[in-house]
């Protein structure tokens, strides 16, 4: 222990203070991560068309480091769910999310992925945040490419604020083994409450 002799022990309390090296290393790592996010496109509907437009030459997602679409979740950093997710796809997107290695993030693109959108019916998941944790929600139906780029810039800003000292950011979701839900059922019911025009549905009252 001769090496550490004479050095004061740094208590690594993330909330208190971090050393110069740790913060600079954080900055370097975050800078690298934020500017080389490889998206895993999960396009199920019209949002995927806007996503393709974002990736194409006019808006050019590659400017922000998303040089390569990763169609394998094993090599992906950010899951971009573009479009509505029916209940039949819920186990698929859950499996894809669990297959992605840390560090990973998720962008919920569009109204349907974020809240079920206009599809407040028996077949569509009311927001993918009931299945997997979501970092950035992009509103719109579908969002314009500028909207998605703004969401990606927000995600990059979020990545830049991460600190290695904060262990919680890398926590893997642990779904309940019996129900496979990762948030309590009452929360899911509350998140899925009808809102806006769908409150006025009369056919549900039959």
């Amino acid at each position: 222990m001769g090496l550490t002799k004479g050095l004061t022990t740094v208590s690594y309390q993330p909330q208190s203070q971090e050393g110069w090296i740790a913060t600079k290393l954080d900055f370097l790592v975050n800078w690298g991560r934020a500017n080389s996010l490889w998206p895993m496109p999960f396009g199920t509907a019209c949002c995927a068309i806007e996503f393709m437009a974002t990736a194409a030459s006019r808006f050019d997602l590659a400017r922000f480091g998303m040089e390569r679409m990763s169609f394998s979740p094993r090599q992906a950093d950010v899951l971009i769910c573009a479009g509505r997710v029916p209940f039949k796809l819920a186990p698929v997107i859950r499996r894809i999310w669990l297959q992605m290695p840390q560090p990973k993030w998720c962008i919920s693109m569009g109204a349907c992925a974020s809240s079920g959108g206009m599809f407040d019916n028996y077949a569509v998941v009311q927001g993918i945040d009931t299945i997997i944790p979501v970092d950035v929600y992009v509103p719109g139906c579908p969002p314009r490419p500028e909207g998605l780029l703004y969401g990606i810039r927000m995600l990059q800003a979020k990545v830049m604020r991460e600190r290695m000292g904060d262990a919680a950011i890398r926590d893997e979701m642990e779904p309940d083994p019996s129900s496979r839900l990762y948030i309590p059922p009452p929360v899911i019911d509350e998140l899925s409450e009808p809102f806006g025009n769908s409150v006025q549905q009369t056919r549900s009252g039959l």
């Binding site: 039949k88 186990p91 009931t130 496979r180 839900l181 998140l191």
Partner: protein, 228 residues
């Protein structure tokens, strides 16, 4: 008859694009009268709406009529466009089953209907023996309305997953958001195995059944279903 471009039309006359089609009435598809002549008593009603002929048939004889329409050289309805059901807010006739037939050689379109009165079982004959394309169409009608097609080889759900327990979504008495709470719906959906590309029922009728691993054959034999 042959038109200027040399195409032979077995129906006789060169087809023309209909113009100024009336809502009701108008020219009746000649197949409608032919059905009535060939099968007296089977036809309940013939309607012409927007130039399209609808023949309302007796429930018991659909397969017979469809087979004749498909085989007869004067009609040759060789393409089944759709099989579906309709539910009405009608106390007497709440259900109809609809077949859309098209004859490519004769350029004819015919809509066949069967009315299912209140209290009658939701059962009609499957037209699968005539049109193999009816397989998935009838499965969809079964999935959405709960219509039973007698003689269908493999009547299972097709759009909803096989363990779907909430009922038949396009029925009038089905709540738009489903019967279960959102968390229960999500729990049941997440219970499905996404890697099970084929259900146990499909595997049990597959040719490769003998090539399956022994444990899987045993599980299928015990009646196990995928998912939960």
């Amino acid at each position: 008859m042959t038109d200027a471009s040399g195409i032979v039309y077995p129906g006789g006359a060169t087809p023309t694009t209909p113009v100024a089609v009336p809502h009701r009435g108008g020219p009746v598809n000649p197949s409608a009268a032919a059905i009535a002549t060939r099968f007296p008593g089977f036809v309940q009603r013939v309607d012409v709406v927007w130039g399209e002929t609808t023949v309302v048939l007796d429930n018991k004889h659909v397969l017979e009529v469809v087979r004749w329409l498909h085989d007869d050289p004067d009609h040759r309805y060789d393409y089944l466009c759709d099989v579906t059901g309709v539910e009405f807010r009608d106390a007497q006739v709440p259900f109809e089953v609809v077949w859309h037939l098209r004859s490519l050689p004769h350029r004819r379109f015919l809509r066949l209907k069967v009315e299912l009165p209140k209290g009658a079982p939701l059962e009609v004959d499957s037209v699968w023996p005539v049109y193999k394309s009816a397989d998935w169409l009838e499965r969809e009608a079964f999935d959405m309305f709960g219509l039973r097609f007698r003689g269908h080889p493999d009547l299972r759900r097709i759009l909803m997953w096989e363990q779907y327990r909430e009922g038949f979504p396009l029925r009038k008495d089905f709540p738009l958001r489903g019967r279960f709470s959102r968390s229960e719906q999500l729990r049941q959906a997440l219970a499905a195995n996404p890697e099970a590309r084929y259900s146990m029922e499909e595997l049990s009728i597959a040719d490769a059944f003998e090539d399956l691993p022994a444990d899987m054959r045993q599980r299928i034999g015990a009646g196990e279903k995928t998912g939960e």
